[in-house]
């Protein structure tokens, strides 16, 4: 009960934030009623998926200050578990998703334990390395389709199939991921006020001080890493059912890892709203820049140049991301 109350308690935020959040939440709830284009719908699903990835990343990367650039391996573990179990044994999503999460968490303990001996840049690059190692292994592992990947056949199932999460219309997927999205927010809200959350922030501020206060620094990091992993693996499982096709090259690529970190960092690492804002800005920006400029002959890459300039500007102007800009302005006003 205590946990639930904490999760649902947002009272430490300014009222403006809560009003905006309520507005956005209600907009998200009724979004499909507007019947925008299917492209807008796909962009929204992407936005929700990456918000969730970002929230997961934010627990370890934001609150804990450990920059993790290897999240794609857990996307892969989740997606592969769900696909393999569905294709080979016809196991529904709601069973395979927790199984995938357990595998991912197990793997995160195996590599997390040695990994957290490292700090800073060493840690960041080591996470990339582990992710690439796992990808290379999946590329030759025949049981999971090796480099060819796995496809969930669109003609074998009868949509809408709520057990296996096979739908024809995107709107079903939208509401499923929206449900996870709200759960994710409540969870992170609880997390940041939990014992572990406070421990983590003190580790971020000064590890030695945290240790002298009796915090088991290493264990706190490993635990949080596992939590982040569970988030990512969940969305990975969803990704498998939504895209219906996974390949190591596509699902576990370095780009995904970096994009996940990028969203959270750009929005503002270490705040509840940061990853959501980051995903809310970057995903539509990327999609629509490409839509408007991408296919123009003679201007190949112009959309990504603009995208890159925006990333560079934000990182140079306000290192704490978009949320940092908001907070700075707010502070200046209150002085």
């Amino acid at each position: 009960m205590e946990v639930l109350r904490n999760a649902l308690d947002f009272s430490d935020f300014p009222r403006v934030d809560l009003c905006v959040a309520a507005l956005v939440a209600s907009f998200l709830l009724i979004f499909p009623l507007f019947h925008f284009s299917s492209f807008a719908m796909a962009t929204m699903i992407q936005f929700l998926m990456f918000s969730l990835y970002g929230m997961g990343w934010n627990t370890i990367g934001g609150y804990g200050g450990q920059v993790d650039l290897g999240k794609a391996q857990y996307v892969g573990i989740g997606a592969y578990t769900t696909s393999v179990m569905l294709i080979r044994w016809d196991v529904p999503f709601w069973v395979s998703m927790p199984v995938g999460m357990s595998f991912a968490v197990l793997w995160s303990f195996i590599i997390g334990y040695p990994l957290f001996r490292l700090k800073g840049h060493y840690f960041a690059i080591a996470t990339i390395a582990t992710s690439l190692v796992l990808k290379d292994l999946f590329e030759v592992w025949d049981f999971v389709g090796a480099a060819r990947g796995l496809e969930i056949s669109p003609i074998k199932y009868h949509p809408p199939d709520f057990l296996r999460l096979i739908f024809k219309e995107d709107v079903y997927y939208y509401y499923v991921i929206l449900g996870f999205f709200f759960l994710g927010i409540f969870y992170v809200n609880w997390f940041r006020k939990s014992r572990l959350g406070f421990q983590l922030r003190s580790i971020k501020d000064n590890e030695d001080v945290a240790r002298s206060l009796g915090i088991n620094v290493h264990w706190a990091k490993v635990k949080t890493y596992a939590i982040a992993t569970a988030f990512v693996s969940l969305v990975g499982s969803f990704h498998a059912c939504y895209i219906k096709n996974i390949e190591p090259e596509d699902t576990m690529s370095l780009d995904i890892s970096i994009l996940i970190a990028l969203m959270a960092m750009l929005g503002g690492a270490g705040s509840l709203w940061g990853p959501i804002i980051g995903a809310g800005v970057l995903i539509p920006l990327k999609s629509y820049l490409k839509e408007w400029l991408g296919a123009k002959a003679g201007l190949v890459g112009i959309d990504l140049i603009i995208y890159a300039v925006i990333i560079m500007l934000i990182s140079a102007v306000e290192p704490r991301g978009i949320w940092g800009i908001v907070e700075k302005a707010r502070r200046r006003r209150s002085v």
Partner: protein
Amino acid sequence: MKRYGMTLMVVFGILALMGLLMPSPAPAARVVKIGVIYPLTGGAAAAGRELRAGAELAAEIANGVMADLPMTMAKNSGIKSLGGAKIKLIFKDHEGNPTLGADLAKKLILDDKVDGILGCYHSSVTKTVSAVCEQYGVPMINGTSTSPALTKRGFKWFWRTTPHDRWFTKDLFELLKGLTEGKVRGVKAVPKKDIINLASACEKTEWGSHVSRLIEGLAKEYGFKLRKSLLYAAKAADLSSEVRSLKAARPDVMLFASYTSDAILMVKTLKAQKANPKIIWGQDAGFEKPEFRNTLGGDIVGILTRTVFLPKVVEIKAIAGKVNALYKKKTGNDLGGASARAFTGLQTWVHVLEKAGSTKPADIQKAANSIKIPGKELVVPWAGIKFSTSGEELGQNVLGSGLIGQYQKGKDGKVGLEIVYPFDVSSADMIFPFPGY
């Protein structure tokens, strides 16, 4: 306080705004919309440009009247059975990314309301796009993806005009068999023990790993020894360890499935390592690209590649010459395997629509399943186009065929491809064994 709340709202409002700003498709009369999904940017952008030009040329010919072109679709302006409806191509760029491809397919089907889809070059992207088409019951014709698995999925809305890799790999073994039997133009029968040892190196994603398996199976079937079969990362910076591994197996024949940059690197490394097999054969893609020839120049004389179209086809097929001239006027290049197949893909769309006389998916499906386009209509040297409607493979064109070309120095000193297989259309004597670099 309020103002910063506003800032936040603006940030989130971007989402809503972008949804609203989406241009709604304007209804236009007498237009058949075909969504075309190609890799216009990203690593395969050069191929994407060729593909786009090929499809565009076919659309121009179909929409206009060109009396001197002996093609049915050149005779009428637009689709006759649809009251002269014009073909409108809507291009989308998938960057070689399967997930993006599926998103684009959904967008084309739901937002742009296309009547059909053409694409997508990469087999992995074709896989996801065709799955979306299947779900929504929208017909898709594929002209350029060659993974055999694509037509083995029992899809009812997917047709493929190009022959697939099993065909092409079989062609290679037919050529090797022909060599031992003295069927190859300009080469005396070679004892089988001289070319019995094979080694293959294929890039390790979907396409290459399939090819690698095919080579393994067919080698057994034809009685050749596969001494070494390796998969490598196409983005590798260095291939010298792969090449030495191949060399160590002492093969007579080296077989490759490579994309562009790795094909170039592979040949350079072979040369640097002084590897001298009797035959080097490439499975299309990289080995057939203009960059391959431009970059390596004279070094590639004697290398074989499978393809479906090469400029020499012009000499045996008049219609190909005329289309090639038009293509050259448009782009400055000769037709290649990619552009010729993209052209044929759209041409097939025109024929299917003409036969269906409607844009209802069910009518198009019926027309596609019963269509037969004679070989004389096509630029590619196939017997025609007719899709299989039963058995293990659904929607595969059964009348297609491949070519094997060899790079040779022409009279003008330029290196170009000559046909060496099939034997009855060969345009030059085959150079055997591989002369070195």
